[in-house]
Symmetry: C2
Subunit: 430 residues, 2 copies
């Protein structure tokens, strides 16, 4: 099935807004085994909108139009849809009263220009929008079924998932039961993961499981899209593949589905009634910022301490860096230094656990071959775990990598896994 | 002049990558008084690429094509450009030796498949790429001049600014001297700023200055695009408008041009040889994370302290919250509490200044009407400044607003401006 997307609006066309609605739509369709073949962006311009609709109507089976359903004069989607389909606009009484209710519930009278949002092309199918006043609708233009959706991301997402995808799946003739299983990992690059997982799709019958990836450094998402008659059928097909992915990616899997690394870490701490303190240098508070604002974190995160300078970090807890490090006086950052900092921070703040992430950053102006040596340690009452790694790729790359490494090592520690396993992003010290 | 952009590549079409290249191109063109009328995204597919090129060639005067210049088999831009123009591909010896040099300098031999990057449509004009191996080029297809650019953002940006914009300005017949003046502010919404600045454009002759905005909460960017014969002419036209914008936006202007709020704050601290400590609650280290990783911050940022729970924050510095607050025992968060925390943090860390940002967040699950009361204080040896504000709009909205408010109040304090001026994002306590 040939699917196109048309994004409308001057704000998107002029780049004032980055078009995340499009990437959202396209990814979501991919998750359900559907593909977008062509995307067009035009502004709030009658001529270009009409041309874009007509061109898509000649090529596509289904077209998703995003934006232009608002109450203002530059919202033109209904008007141009009607022209392209050769029909008139007609007032939809039902939607009008829905809107009047919507405003009444909020103690307001509906402004007159909102009436425009209930004017739909004659014969259009209404597509519900339970979270806003923009009325979605579908109608045929040329050989294609057009689906009109609101530009507000929250409204678009709800409508796409609840209303459009079932209609598109039905139209495509694909089995309607579909499921997306996701694994999140840190430390394995996309091509490495692809090689590690070679052949897993074959563990399910007749191509019913499709493997895909989405890399967003430092994390990688591994996706299994499964099709079947119903959810039981899907679970049966998925089970052997899922098990094999878990076996091959092993300890690198940090979360699955809608879970996040920060939530996994907080929940593991909560389960053991543990509190946590953090010491950060060049990560500058970014590790704390990933955890401490989450619901429930107030009782778990005891203290975050940011000290940009590594030597200061040692001094603050009463350590002389060179001595603490390797005894040579050379001051090379070592795991032992990080361990001493973590132990001292735990003791001083009275937390169950402390994580210290110390970084020696290469000097000089920022460029792609700037690297950093990361020494991190986790201290509890009974033991201390630590690792030392070098990451190269510029200041931001090192910093983002160190934030993720700190959180992921904490996850590994809490799950009883080895804190050190070689990752694809680290390089051996020259 | 009718300009179109064609973005190519499966990763963009499937939404794996959000298309920030397009918004970058379009914004940059707008900054120079040029406008994109139409954007098309197609995948690495010969048929769709050819059709997209042909359709744009019928409509546009100039077309920017992004992506598809790499060395792999799915990079098709040169091949399809040649087909669309009805010419053959030919090896560009000069670019080939440039690439061989490029690899030699890095101690590597050029892989054979990179040779493909030097195959250009016959008669194409080479457009230099000083930072990569993808060769930019221009040629006529239909009635339009096509400009082919690499998908790597860094390479695209350099080529667009140095090579394409001068060519597009020349082609458009616009005066080639153009300048973009930018003001960054916090606390004024876009529509308010628009009203405040009504009529400023008229202070320059014959529409040579154009006013625009780009809102990215919590900051707002106010842009003046100026056209003239040369830079002297531009400066003359801009001067009265620039002065008037500064007068009307006043203390809300936090930086201009390429300056950032964090850099302004760090430089002001550096100028007075001052050090800074921070105490954060719900902002969770995000204020520290904006400052502490920047070059030179190591000597300035003494300590960042994150304590999610406000009562803990008081206890840590030896304050009983209820008593410190208002003496009533009710525990309502007050400016006095923040002042006491800032003073104690300054003293305990030995910093010249301390900023404390304490937040009382509404309880309940996150929704649009969740708000927070922010009490912040800045303490020095001699005085203490503070403010209290309430922001509503959900957990993230409150947190982002509080981070910006903390940094901006620090900027105001360091510049001798009032720390409290009412902002558009705050609401009065019910």
């Amino acid at each position: 099935m040939h699917i196109e997307v048309i994004c409308t609006g001057d704000e998107v066309l002029t780049g004032k807004i980055v078009n995340t609605n499009f990437s959202y739509i396209s990814q979501k369709l991919e998750d359900f085994g559907l593909s977008v073949q062509w995307e067009t962006t035009v502004g709030d311009d009658r001529g270009n909108l009409l041309l874009a609709f007509r061109l898509a109507a000649e090529r596509a089976d289904a077209v998703i139009v995003n934006g232009g359903l608002g109450p203002t004069v530059d919202d033109l989607s209904q008007e141009i849809a009607a022209r392209a389909a050769g029909v008139d606009l007609a007032l939809n009484e039902e939607w009008l009263s829905r809107m009047e209710d919507y405003f009444a519930k909020r103690g307001r009278v509906m402004p007159p220009n909102n009436r425009k949002q209930a004017m739909l092309p004659a014969g259009a199918e209404v597509i519900d929008n339970p979270v806003g006043t923009a009325c979605g609708f579908a109608l045929n233009i040329g050989r294609a079924r057009f689906f009109f959706t609101p530009g507000v991301p929250r409204e678009l997402r709800r409508m796409l998932e609840d209303q459009l995808i079932p209609r598109l799946l039905a139209k495509s003739g694909l089995q309607t039961a579909i499921f997306l299983k996701r694994f999140h990992s840190y430390g394995i690059g996309e091509s490495h993961a692809d090689a590690l997982l070679a052949g897993v799709e074959a563990l399910a019958p007749d191509g019913s499981v499709k493997l895909g990836f989405r890399a967003h450094y430092p994390q990688l998402e591994t996706k299994l899209t499964v099709r079947g008659k119903d959810m039981d059928d899907i679970q049966n097909k998925l089970a052997p593949v899922e098990q094999e992915v878990r076996r091959r990616l092993g300890n690198f899997i940090l979360a699955e589905g809608d879970q996040t690394l920060e939530r996994v870490v907080l929940d593991a701490l909560g389960d053991r009634h543990a509190s946590l303190s953090l010491v950060e240098t060049f990560t500058s508070g970014q590790i704390a910022a990933r955890l401490a604002h989450l619901p429930g974190a107030g009782k778990i995160i005891r203290r975050g301490i940011v000290i940009p300078d590594v030597s200061d970090a040692c001094a603050v807890i009463g350590l002389d860096r060179a001595v603490a490090a390797d005894g040579t006086g050379a001051g090379e950052l070592t795991r032992e230094t990080a361990e001493a900092v973590a132990r001292a921070a735990r003791q001083q703040t009275g937390a169950t656990l402390a994580l210290a992430v110390l970084i020696d950053l290469d000097e000089g102006t920022d460029r792609i071959d700037i690297g950093g040596t990361i020494c991190l340690a986790i201290a509890s009452e009974h033991d201390t775990a630590s690792r030392r790694s070098r990451i190269v790729g510029g200041r931001d790359w090192v910093r983002l990598g160190a934030v993720e490494m700190g959180l992921d090592c904490l996850r590994r520690y809490l799950q009883g896994l080895p804190v050190y396993e070689r990752i694809d992003f680290e390089i051996d010290r020259p």
